[in-house]
Amino acid sequence: MSSRADLVSLGHGSGGKLTHDLISKTIVPALYGADGAPPMEDSALLTIPGAWLSFTTDSYVVSPWAFPGGNIGDLAFNGTINDLAMSGAIPVALSVGLILEEGFPLADLRTVMRSMGQAARASGVPIVCGDTKVVPHGKADGIFINTSGVGYRPDGVQIHASGARPGDVVIINGTIGDHGIAVMSEREGLRFQSPIQSDTAALHTLARALLDGGVDAHVMRDPTRGGLATTICEIAADSGVAIRLDERAIPMATAVAGACELLGLDPMVVANEGKMVVVTPEKDVEKALAIMRAHPLGKLSAVIGRVEEGRAGRVSSASVVGGERMINMPHGEILPRIC
């Protein structure tokens, strides 16, 4: 057994016995649990049905690595699953690359690997390959994780960031700002009466339910860094349309709204890690809402806006008091390194 005092050392990244031990004794058991690990080859062999391969990668440097509702482990897993899912793909397998700072406690590494493993098992998508490097003290911030993922998109699914058409309706699957505020409150040592949990979650089953249910989703996007404002601006620009939101319709936890007031933040630019924006034709709205609200990750799904003719990329919103304001992508440092 190791104790809190066991730390990652440069030797753990040497490629020799220590590296082997770190992987086989710390990482693999935590990551795979009782399921056991797949055989260790130089690369994983996958069978992928269908014609369209979906492939994505993302790196996670969140500080602090643990926050209410999750940690960098499940965050890194879910984030890549979501990138696959938002393109309409069915995730098949993920890789994980770890960059550890010398001195990072092994107990913390185990915690991170365990929650990543739990996220993998819950999602039904395996982690099939990985890599571990150690850098000298001061050259990283504890732990950085890269995950890459492959999936396939069944024939007939057409989802693109440029797919929004005038007349379409914009739906979100729940409250905004939870992840960003959870990380921020942990980082700044802010204690709220009701702790705000990160919304980190794998969205592939929700996305799948929509497509299987016959919803003609023109666009699906997960509004992560930069928040809902950034995602909506991107969809409007990529699709060459204008989008009009109604702020009163956007779901938000009271605690998040309160924290944003306190910190002077616009919740529209605060990060999410378990939210998806769906743009769908008017005819499918009721069906989409019914499917989403029946899913555990979509209970608070709501229509939040409409796609309109207009200057490409123009996003406006009815404010809570009914005034009209423009929505832009945020600039510069708002919440540094939140995912």
């Binding site: 008091v321 009914g322 600039h331």
Partner: protein, 365 residues
Amino acid sequence: MKYINEFRDKETADKLADDIRKAASGLDRQITLMEVCGTHTMAIYRYGIRSMIPKSIKLVSGPGCPVCVTPINYVDTAVEIAAQPNVAITTFGDMVRVPGSRSTLQKERSSGKEIRVVYSPLDAVALAKENPAKEVVFLGVGFETTAPLIACSILEARREGIANYSVLCAHKTMPEPMEVLTSGEIKLDGYICPAHVSAIIGADAYIPVAKKFSMPCVVTGFEPLDILKGLAMLARQAAEGRAEVENEYYRVVKPEGNKKAQQILRQVFVKSDAVWRGLGTIPDSGLAISEEFDKFDASKKFGVTLPEPKENPACICGRILKGLNDPPECRLFGSACTPDNPIGACMVSSEGTCAAAYRYGGYGE
């Protein structure tokens, strides 16, 4: 969120917008109303207030963002102090992005200088206590809303015998610039007076401005319903030819203000002339640390004094702070000058007039 949602109620907002239209129907010309608080600037954009009021009421933004009116040489001085060994600079968040003539505190932080964002100056005092070998400097910027906190931090440091804490003081006060603006080129018809500043200085502080310049003044809260109600009150004064101080924000602001906070300000600071970026020197519009608290004055402790460098000549922030021009009328706005790369003061802080116009006014693409 109780006590917040009540002040964002759509139905009440519609009624107040009606009141404004009714009051404005009594006007025989377009009137110009100025807000002199950055939080009002932001709230007016964020809630789309301009789209809810008739064209006969024009809203302009004055010098209300404390970060925006802080002179460049203040940033240069902070950068200079940060370069000295064993110094930690502590500041409210917005200051780290403000461009000095050569660098920003953000860039200095990236190059390894110790610059920390804190939520309260008392955190800076605690940092000084924990690190007796380090000089901890707090950047004292802001109006009467923040100045009492900084005064408290100095009193606390003295009480605890913490000698390694000091404040680089650039506090500004109201309503002195309002008098200067009123007597200037711009034709104003009323002031939306600040909310939290007024909680300290009191609504009566605006009586001289109202009397001397026949200027309607309404102390107004920051919530959208407060702002709409304040605008209705100002429009009514203008239409009826009155020029009084009225207090919309009476749930917080008293006529005499917060006596305790005023007493703390008088204990630690003395009134001084102050340089306002874009406006120049305004007599008695600033606060300096009094002689009694000399050893907590970073400008004396570090002996750094730098000349005020030149502004970009194309920048019209001075005219924007005076309400003479709107941000899109500046040729740097949105092209050379953006929130990512601010050239003028008004683009620097998220509360600056240009930053707010950029963020909420639809210039972001």
